[in-house]
């Protein structure tokens, strides 16, 4: 580990050495080289900046926003852009900029929660199907195919209809209709890994199926799953915003961006900024995730489409 404290030149040399001398060095090298490729791609960097910006804004919301974005101020209704209200105010006199800032937390909450549900479910079903094979594979993949074949938005609508409107139910509905492609990806990866020598070696050493799945197969599937997840994020955000717009997602007065557009709809003609600004926020964040996903795919998966 003493190499780490050398000069900057030394660190670079350590990171680019042709034959790494430790597992740590090899891992750092891979990360560094990927990072260099990613850094050289200005469009992907823009995506990273946008997504990082979203995270920072969400974390620092109490310090960035001057109000809590929920309490009405009826003296300041529907005001245009000004130095006091950067993005104007809505029909209840709430500062739209502040609501956008607080709304970033909800957007992150939605994509985070969907990811936390979808990735483990998809990984588990996909790796088990691919690794175990046979009847298990057949049954699991049939179920996956059925979910894959469904119209997503309509199914999400039906789920929310049954469960009742609300942010958590919207997230659940989106997750239920999103997990299937992950199972397919994980299965494809597991199939290629299944007969590798290192799996054989682990088996000979006495590792059980569960252990091999958890320690060897799943980690190797993770990178393609993450690329897919980043590319899906925009779609998840748009679906959540769509449900919010229809009144099925977050309920007022929560500053969810889709619901903000829906609430501001009636003011479109005279106070156009009320519904327009949240839409721009959704657009920018989805764009950020799309750019980031494209960049990640180029770095982590060079074989895929250009």
């Amino acid at each position: 580990m003493s190499e780490l404290v050398e000069t900057r030149h030394g660190v670079r040399a350590w990171l680019l050495a042709s034959s790494p001398r430790s597992a740590l060095q090899a891992r750092c090298q891979r990360f560094y080289i990927s990072w260099l490729a990613f850094f050289a791609n200005p469009v992907a960097m823009l995506g990273l900046v946008i997504v990082a910006g979203l995270v920072v804004v969400a974390l620092l919301a109490p310090w960035i926003a001057s109000s809590n974005g929920v309490d009405p101020d009826l003296d300041a209704r529907l005001q245009p852009f000004s130095s006091e209200h950067w993005f104007g105010t809505d029909q209840l006199g709430r500062d739209i900029f502040d609501r956008i800032v607080w709304g970033s937390r909800i957007t992150l909450y939605i994509v985070g929660l969907v990811a936390v549900i979808v990735v483990p479910v998809g990984l588990l079903i996909g790796t088990v199907a691919g690794f175990v094979g046979g009847m298990v594979d057949n049954v699991l993949m049939r179920i996956t195919d059925i979910f894959l074949a469904f119209p997503r938005l309509i199914l999400a609508l039906a789920f929310v209809a049954a469960l009742g409107p609300g942010l958590e139910n919207a997230v659940l509905a989106i997750a239920l209709t999103t997990w299937s492609p992950y199972a397919r990806i994980a299965r494809a990866e597991a199939l290629t890994i299944r007969n590798s020598e290192f799996i054989m070696a682990a088996r000979v050493q006495g590792a059980g199926t569960v252990g091999i799945l958890y320690r060897h197969v799943m980690p190797l599937c993770l990178s393609s799953v993450i690329v897919r997840l980043t590319l899906d994020m925009a779609g998840i955000i748009l679906t959540a915003a769509g449900l919010g717009f229809l009144g099925l997602g977050a309920q007022p007065p929560t500053p969810e961006w889709g619901a903000m557009i829906s609430n501001g709809r009636q003011f479109l003609l005279d106070q156009w900024w009320v519904p327009t600004v949240p839409g721009i926020a959704i657009f920018v964040v989805s764009l950020g995730f799309n750019l980031l996903g494209d960049g990640l795919r180029d770095v982590l998966d060079p074989k895929s489409e250009r």
């Binding site: 993949m141 049939r142 179920i143 195919d145 059925i146 979910f147 894959l148 074949a149 469904f150 119209p151 997503r152 938005l153 309509i154 199914l155 609508l157 039906a158 789920f159 929310v160 209809a161 049954a162 469960l163 492609p181 590319l231 899906d232 925009a234 779609g235 748009l238 915003a241 769509g242 717009f245 229809l246 009144g247 099925l248 889709g258 557009i261 709809r265 479109l268 003609l269 156009w272 519904p275 327009t276 949240p278 839409g279 959704i282 657009f283 989805s286 764009l287 799309n290 750019l291 489409e305 250009r306």
Partner: protein
Amino acid sequence: MVDATPAVSVSGRSRPFGLGLLGSVAGVAFTLALTFLGLTAITFVIARVMPVDPVLAIVGDRAAQDVYDQVYRQLGLDQPLYTQYLRYLGQLAQGDLGVSIMTAQPVMADLLRFFPATLELASVATLAGVLLGVPMGVLAAVKRGRWPDHLVRMVGLFGYSVPVFWLGMVGLLIFYAKLGWVAGPGRIDVFYDGIVEPVTGSILVDAALAGEWEIFDNAVSHLVLPASILATYTLAYIARMTRSFMLDQLSQEYVLTARVKGVSEKWVIWRHAFRNVLVQLITIIGLTYASLLEGSVLTETVFAWPGIGQYITASLFKNDMNAVIGGTIVVGVCFVGINMLSDLLYRMVDPRAR
């Protein structure tokens, strides 16, 4: 979202008989049946199992106990779940989707009334997406790395990132309210409503058949904006896929051979490369068409378009579960059906896929 695989990818798997086309048709039919069964199972769970109390949704919370019990038995809730499911399947097979609380009509009749509007919107949008997207994709592939390529990439990113309901609103604000270039929400102006005898259900076709060109113009003016908005995503998707398919073909050796033999570039692109791409495009176009049928929900809400999407969302707020589930099933069946059809077509056209 940007993957090329069909939503129901039967290709490469589920070829149980290995009998070429016949075998793959059987495979597709099997998958189709299974998928429909899954669809009905899920809608059954949503409609009958998940709601806290389906009886209360019908009789209201102030109904007397004997009314409650009667409805409880009528719905068959006293029977085991699998019996209920089989009963549900039997009703579906007869086209019985129940009665809508909102319109007091059979849900099936309602859906038949609303469906043509959605079909018209989705068809025009798909057509626009194909007519613009395919040439754009070819151009981007041919001029790879130059400005047409970057332009197509930008259009793609825009289409994938923009919330369609928001775009529709902004479109209405600019082109209807400010510029007055197009007509506003709805399918047709009120004073033209009901003049043309509905034959096909598509106002455009009906008006043209009746020779009512004034109404035709009015319908076009109403249709242009929602169809364009809906086409944004299609355009982005089709252009991007065409580009990547074309790049694939243009790097093949037969293209090199043709070029070496002195075949003109135009001929190489359109007669050699593009003809091979065409087969793959069928799947993609089928896929987008199917997704537009469901994707029109949000657009219809913004444009007050009296289609199936608006019907479903309106029913949702009235807790009209029969209508919601009926709509979900019909859209789901169309979605799955179109996907399978394009998959099948693909196998018929391309011998390599068998």
